[in-house]
């Protein structure tokens, strides 16, 4: 707990300074959370362009609505709430436009997804492991956002159920059920694919 107090205070100081007109303080907040946010949103969106759009928009909205931020909230939870909403809207729109599957696989991102080839280390076992990991990643990516978002907030962000509930605007019970279902969907799909 003690460890968290200075973190909270630091964010509050940045927020107060930003509200007083110091944009540099907001850049400190961006620096502090951009990588975490980018990493998570990338999982939601599946490509760098959309991730960039969502993260940039999330910070812009956080800035323009900073005076509505409640002191008793955690800034990162608030920021992630904004980003989750933007991601959900964008995913819905992409689904509607029906080009999400084609766009999700991009050559630029492949460089990140695929580890450099080291032929010597590619024993049958590691190949199998890598194939398995690729399949699982693909299945996580194709989960509906209703399941994917709580599931990744839990496993990638290590957020508590209460925090996830706040971020997704769902009840703790619903969050829990969705995480369970996400796992079960993944398990069943994985069994089918093997």
């Amino acid at each position: 707990m003690d460890k968290n107090i200075p973190v909270k205070n630091e964010d509050l100081i940045f927020i107060e300074e930003t509200l007083a007109g110091n944009r540099e303080s907001f850049s400190c907040l961006v620096d502090k959370y951009k990588d975490r946010l980018f990493n998570l949103v990338y999982r939601f969106m599946g490509n760098k362009d959309d991730t960039m759009d969502v993260c940039q928009d999330a910070f812009l909205q956080a800035y323009t609505h900073l005076n509505t931020f409640k002191i008793d909230c955690n800034f990162s939870t608030w920021l992630f709430t904004i980003a989750v909403n933007i991601s959900k809207n964008k995913l819905k729109r992409k689904k509607f436009l029906n080009f999400s599957i084609d766009r999700q696989v991009q050559t630029e991102d492949d460089e990140i997804n695929n580890e450099p080839a080291d032929k010597n280390s590619h024993s049958e076992e590691t190949m199998l492991k890598q194939e398995r990991a690729e399949l699982l990643n693909e299945m996580i990516g194709s989960l509906s956002s209703d399941y994917k978002i709580p599931f990744l907030l839990k496993h990638q962000e290590n957020r508590s159920l209460e925090e996830i509930a706040r971020i997704t605007n769902l009840s703790v019970g619903v969050v829990k059920i969705r995480i369970h279902r996400a796992r079960n969907i993944l398990y069943n799909s994985f069994k089918e694919r093997l």
């Binding site: 850049s27 991730t51 993260c55 990643n137 496993h155 990638q156 369970h180 796992r183 398990y187």
Partner: protein, 202 residues
């Protein structure tokens, strides 16, 4: 194959360490004899580890600068858009070669109020743009919500809008916001708005 003794909720709660000591002990004992549940639990763990061990995708270099340069000058609760425009007037005055829009559907007399939609088409010719989007009152000024479609350098999008008063702007390549020089245009029926590109630079 399913296990009839342990339901999925319980197994998930066991995996998440949410069970009390006694229930957890019962599940542990069950797992020794049940390959179905053991396999499932191992899968949960595998997925969790996979996510935890996945390479991190960090924000690109220059991201903070990009965000900060896109911020309005001052924080306001509402109507931050004009502030963005002010910023862009300064920031992009040298670079802006095109321009853009603003339209208003003015409809203030009660007897003329209609809730029928009018199809409004926005069109702009931009040969060198990569992404053109429309933001306005109708989409909460979300610069990503309404992309234009491009055909031979002509970008267009058609929206069904309730008759009323709107303001909007066109965003080129996600950063340049172009206001309409006319300030307001009154539209009460299906309309096509050709956004000029040769107006005074902003």
């Amino acid at each position: 194959m399913k296990c009839n003794k342990i339901d999925e909720k319980l197994l998930n709660e066991y995996f998440d360490n949410e069970l009390d000591e006694r229930s957890a002990r019962n599940i542990s004992e069950h797992l020794r004899d049940c390959p179905v549940c053991s396999e499932k639990l191992a899968f949960f763990k595998g997925v969790s580890d996979l996510i935890a061990e996945s390479p991190k995708i960090n924000a690109p270099v220059g991201f903070t600068t990009r965000v900060i340069s896109s911020l309005p000058e001052k924080i306001t609760t509402r109507a931050f858009f004009p502030k963005i425009l002010e910023l862009n007037f300064k920031t992009f005055s040298a670079a802006a070669g095109f321009l853009l829009i603003f339209t208003s559907l003015v409809f203030y007399s009660a007897k003329y109020i209609s809730h029928k939609n009018a199809n409004v088409t926005f069109e702009i010719s931009l040969a060198n743009a990569s992404v053109v989007t429309l933001a306005g009152d109708f989409n909460g000024w979300n610069m990503y919500a309404t992309p234009f479609n491009e055909e031979n350098g002509v970008w267009s999008v058609t929206l069904p809008l309730k008759k009323g008063t709107y303001q909007y702007s066109v965003i080129v390549d996600g950063k340049q916001w172009y206001p309409d020089p006319q300030d307001e245009v009154s539209i009460t029926k299906n309309t096509k708005i050709i956004v000029p590109t040769d107006i005074e630079k902003i």
